[in-house]
Symmetry: D2
Subunit: 488 residues, 4 copies
């Protein structure tokens, strides 16, 4: 055992919400060739991507025409808590910048680990924002360390930065260095990189995580999702392709390096981006996330119909699929729950001894809508199952005569190594349990999951990763669970 570093505030950083999967990150980059200030646009872009990560956030900008200083700020918490008007004011010189929102799947939840990572290296300054998880981190880290690297964080991005910095010494351009680094990196990554006078975006060859290109006037934009383009008034140009490196230079020219691309059939987009992670108003590779969820609802109806009086979604993520089910079945769509919209990530959880429960603090059933009715309740997934049971009971207590649960994804059976915090197998309710057993556990009258073979319809044919359902990983996963390994 060698030495490992741990931050003081590590103890208990992450309040693991039992039934919610977390995406790890959202990234944003913008380069205004007219020299306009970009800090505000990054701020609004990050607000739009906040659903992809709520633990920490950061912005780094530079002025490509002036002295090319980098101004950056990173903080724990939400974007609108972390940045003040004077922060944005202090960054208003910058016409090139990147931003990041983070939920940590690898690396501790600390300020040190917040992104963008801003570094100085041989060729100047670089700021990088990363969405995804590398799976050969230990090997890369060991290799770098042998050559004298020192690490001050526990995030993959630091390793990526090293890789690029080392390659850059030998290669003519930073984008070449990125390409060379990509050849050594394995796993999921969508990156936006600000080098002194270039904005670079790239996606891993499998395309696990999304990355889109937009444009607003003479400004180029990179973002995890199109909803961030909408917010800042940019128009969608195209998606960065899996394996592609896109570079926008100081003249506003955009160039592309596809040398790392692999055959389309080997690509492996995370299907959960469509099912749950992305915002419904986003389009990922031109597939509407909302449409994808309507489709999931329709499929659930086609494969697992049931007579009922009302179709409801578990808010917010189940609503679109519920609408799809309602449209397909003709059963009315309705609202069965009121969600407390003022409770953020943090509130004081009821203790065991009190008569209150976390679920009741967040949700309340709408008796008026539910009483005396047979309900079809749609949710996007079941992870551990405890919350599902409580919600089913809530509906029954509100007078529902039947509760039929439909899940718009197959059962989770395997951990994810590519940027989603699906827990280890023994914590998954579907592990070693039949659908009937799960149905009994959560107290539903019937239960059905979306069938694995129909998932491809959600991405409208784009090749996807289904490893968390069937264990067939696009890249051989590491022997042991390396997530967070470095800190343990």
């Amino acid at each position: 055992m060698k030495g490992r570093q741990m931050n003081l505030y590590m103890s208990g950083p992450k309040t693991q919400d039992e039934e919610v999967l977390h995406e790890e990150c959202g990234v944003f980059g913008i380069y205004d060739l007219d020299g306009g200030s970009v800090a505000q646009s990054i701020y609004y872009g990050l607000l739009a991507l906040q659903h992809r990560g709520q633990e920490s956030c950061g912005i780094a900008v530079t002025d490509t025409a002036g002295p090319n200083k980098v101004y950056s700020k990173k903080e724990m918490g939400l974007v609108n808590e972390a940045f003040t008007r004077s922060d944005l004011k202090a960054m208003e010189q910058g016409n090139l910048g990147v931003g990041h929102v983070r939920y940590s799947t690898a690396g501790n939840s600390t300020r040190e680990n917040a992104q963008p990572l801003v570094i100085n290296y041989y060729k100047g300054t670089m700021a990088m924002a990363h969405n995804g998880n590398l799976i050969n981190t230990p090997q890369l880290r060991k290799m770098l360390a042998k050559n004298g690297a020192i690490f001050q964080t526990t995030i993959d991005s630091e390793i990526i930065a090293y890789m690029i910095a080392r390659e850059r010494a030998e290669l003519p351009t930073v984008e070449d260095a990125v390409a060379a680094a990509m050849r050594k990196m394995q796993g999921a990554y969508s990156l936006v990189i600000m080098s002194p006078r270039k904005l670079i975006g790239c996606r891993d060859p499998y395309g696990f995580r999304p990355l889109v290109i937009g444009r607003r006037g003479n400004a180029w934009v990179l973002a995890s999702e199109t909803c961030a383009l909408d917010t800042i008034g940019a128009v969608y140009v195209r998606d960065v392709e899996p394996g592609e490196i896109v570079t926008i230079n100081q003249k506003g020219e955009i160039s592309s390096d596809k040398s790392m691309c692999i055959p389309k059939e080997r690509q492996a987009r995370c299907i959960f981006e469509y099912i749950y992670f992305a915002r419904p108003d986003s389009y990922l590779e031109q597939v509407s996330v909302y449409r994808s969820r309507l489709t999931a609802g329709r499929i659930l109806f086609e494969d697992s119909p049931v007579e009922a009086d009302l179709v409801v979604g578990v808010p917010e993520s189940g609503n679109a699929a519920a609408q799809g089910f309602a449209l397909a079945s003709g059963i009315p769509y309705g609202t069965a729950f009121v969600k407390n919209s003022y409770i953020g990530r943090t509130f004081i959880k009821p203790s065991q001894s009190t008569r209150e429960s976390s679920v009741h603090v967040k949700l309340n059933a709408l008796k008026e809508a539910v009483a005396g009715k047979r309900i079809i309740m749609i949710d996007d997934s079941i992870v551990r199952g405890t919350t599902s049971g409580q919600i089913v009971k809530m509906l029954r207590d509100a007078g529902a005569t039947e509760v039929h649960v439909r899940i718009s994804s197959p059962p989770f059976l395997h951990p994810c190594y590519f940027g989603t915090d699906v827990p280890s197998e023994d914590q998954l309710i579907a592990h070693n349990r039949s659908v009937d057993e799960i149905c009994r556990l959560i107290g539903a009258d019937s239960l059905a999951f979306l069938k694995e073979e129909r998932l491809i319809e959600l991405s409208e044919g784009l090749p996807i990763c289904k490893a968390c359902f069937n264990g067939s990983y696009p890249i051989k996963p590491p022997e042991e669970d390396i997530r967070g390994e470095f800190e343990k």
Copy 2:
């Protein structure tokens, strides 16, 4: 005009959201006769009432069996920001307590003005939480001041406390003093009062603001809305009647004083509690708020039908009426907007010069759902109208071919003096404008409001106040706008 007091932080306390009406307060009280700790229950009760006020909050508790000390904390901000676990820990002795969430319609938005107001007087300590607005504040204040009263806040509650304290000197019980004070108070008030060993609740004779009674085991609960009962696992007992004073004593006996009640036909519940303020899962005097909004949607369809492909609500408040319209019309209900749920009350508003807009930061249209469709868009009210226009445009930009707006209340024409911040007449879009003119202003294809004569259906026959629509005030309003007068 003599001296007036102003707090340092007065300047710019309230970010007046252009198109949103604000309720002023939510109140909560609980008395556990078994001596159980109540601070946590108040905390969860206030979380459930947070929609009634997001500026400041407070909790005060006492232990009726022990030394009867009062522990209290008041802060600016949301309940889950203001209270820490150790705050609740420090209050865990208390088995009797009251809580408050506030949006200021009278009195500045400052910590000093947060509630509950905790005072010492001749008979011990009293804590009070108040929802509503008195309209004879200047007269009462003058009368009290003449007798040597000093004022340290600018809230009505301080005046009410004085009134009760003065009456108490002559009268045998605190509830008698409350009754005597009520005889002198004019306006809207739902109060919960913690006296050393009693919990008291009362409503003004008109019943402007709600107040319900609940029970959990051997604990009595008072709350603005039933949703707070649900959250803490209490059952609904009944509503406090307009004009009634309800007292729970140390033996757990509940007594009622109805001497201040007026004939039912003169009662004047605020209809906006049903239309907008209350949470849809609440029942006010046994009328479901959700059902009331479905009814509003149905009425809009009956009175102002239109052919269309989709009925949508402006989130969140328009959704229930939209569902009512959809059910009545057979036109499918759908979702047309994605609301950014991570943006709280405060984010940095785009400046004029930037290309972003506040509305786009908060809302995005769901192109996929809207494109090529004729849309009926339901909202609860139009105040100034600017936001409505932006939302209609957002739908058109997303491809809607027609946008028909239906509003589940009549046009605002008159200010409210009873606890709602309807602005003065010249700021109201409906002032001196026909419906057609408004329709043109907001860019809709058609526009209809709910008719005043049908409002009574929303309260299912309970007498209501419609003054903001027709100017017919249940009590003669003050000659000049006294709201905030004291601080100006």
Copy 3:
């Protein structure tokens, strides 16, 4: 008295420093007749008075020419922590104002209890800052409460404000009301009062606490000590006399009401102002505090001489008397201790189990100065005695061959009811102990106190209160210890 109010943060507010007496307050007032801004001057005045109270502070200002609004801010903590540049900016309209620094001897240490107290009453707004302790508080409070008063704090100042407000209803001017209130108040008080367009200062008839008048150009200043005048560049005019009320009106006229003055021989200045509380650069009634302490040192030499090599003071308060002893004796004065000047009021105290001690964190003996020498160590007082013992030991550990302790005040034997937190008798080291016993307890080679009969030399003949030494109280003290009674 049944109900009592207690603030959440009461538990453990005051870290009672074992061996240090605390003054309760400093007050400051300024009226710029030319209309100049006074907030900055109050800020610097309070910085100069910070030694009189470090728990909380506050400033209130008004503009006598303009709309006469009051701007105020009160916070826990030191003046330079509590006020920001933008706070002062927000108050820059004010040309009349008062300020306060507080150490709580009565009333809890909470934000609610910070001063100045700003109130509205029949005749407008009043802000008041108070130094001292009333001793008939319970009777006054009861009397007021019977007439319907409500109390929101636990400080005497609220009672004084009530008294003035009530009298004002019957009397032509606010200064008359102050005079009438003074007739009913018993105890120690130096007050500065800002009424809408007047600045008023008064001292109780015994003159327990100081109050001086200064002038800077066309601005009048009131302050607890002359050092505050020096800081803001004002010149000393005269002291407010015991029992006098001084009023500065809008024309800049200063008037005086001496109707409450008592015969000079009954006056009773707190002698500890000279011995310890006041800053050495201050003059109280034209007696230099520094000179007074030099005198104390000389008297100690005259009455209790001893052969030694070095005279040292316990920093900071013992240094001046040590210089006086050195000058009188011819024994060299030196420095024996280094005090850590970066440790504020709060640092993490060593736990019992660790090898560090609080005294060693704050002080270190200067071995080089002390080793091999016979030391005379001068301190201003001994309260509980534990720290004295540790310091004597510290000198011996540093190589002192003899340690002779001289104390520039007589032994404490009785509690103080007039604004100093001398603890109750059983906690005083001198209670039931001879000087020899104390000497042995603290491990000194010899010990002598300043003789009670010579105290009058320190005030250069001005009548003083010596009750804490001889129990002869100028006013009959309350039967029981009322300090903090209201909160308990």
Copy 4:
């Protein structure tokens, strides 16, 4: 060098106090071989070293017996502001640790640049605290960057860490790697390093900055000054010699590597450690700092005597030399100033337009002591001279009839590159000015500096650096001023 990194909060981080020189850092390390917790001792050690740096501070600890995790916390501000009881609690597992207090002379004043620097490298984790300034930073940084290093801070320590990490790959022990790195480093450095199970301390060959070894029971201690040993109850063992590397291993064995030592006559201790930086109760290489200052006072009397009535020091740093002058001359030592001890590093500076001045807020002359007297005023140095002028005037305003200024160091004429922020030449009052001219500028009756040739008496013969006085640098300084170069 193109790109440079700048932190958001760079703008205006450092409030450069006009007349005060700043030391850059204090370091502390402790290794308890019995496994006892060290976090509290580091905390108290840093409190004792706080005078060496008040901008930021940090602690890192590890448990050598257990899992060897590193817990660390770094914050802006003072030690007693930055660390809470629960911080220390969270670190209580550690029995080996290092701490740091910082005033930035190189590297921006930001949280990122706070120390100790905690890094992971090939051989585990290392934490390092550094006092001093390298002068070949640009060359080293360039060399490292060429080999692929990335930099996340702008502090020298990051470069040192890299150097050690790179050497460690080839060498058997970490202390060997430290030695190899030292061979390449030029400049001033006293380092304490925590490697997984070793505590290492080293000083540069010239011995610019101090470092002492102490012991408490079975715990070894390293600290910048002996005063930190006193505070935690440790005994002084010896100083780390210039050029020496001292290693304490897991068995408690201490070893020494003196291969980097240079001939004693080439050593170059910073004489300002004796004159100003170090605490008077510290011993540096067994020379008492207090004694050194007494000596300075005596020399000033010997070389520049003057008739006067009183010798006073400018607090605090001038006091010891003033005592030395008094003892030598027989002229009484006294106190002429009262310093406001509640004003920390930050208070709101008076604006030009106000009548207050910063000097008067911090200091007040003691009229009583000064009036009518001829004063000798001793200060440790004059940098820009403006404050000196104000203080001389303050004495005259207080009635001093003559003011003779004596400075316990020679005039500053050259910048320092070794860890002191002596400003550039054109800002120095002595630049191009005779002593007479300076005397006139500050308004003194006479002025004398300590002669350069007598400085060696202050270090009692230990070789010293006098470059800031005579420009004779022990190492050739860089061509241009590199201080802060990287950030500019």
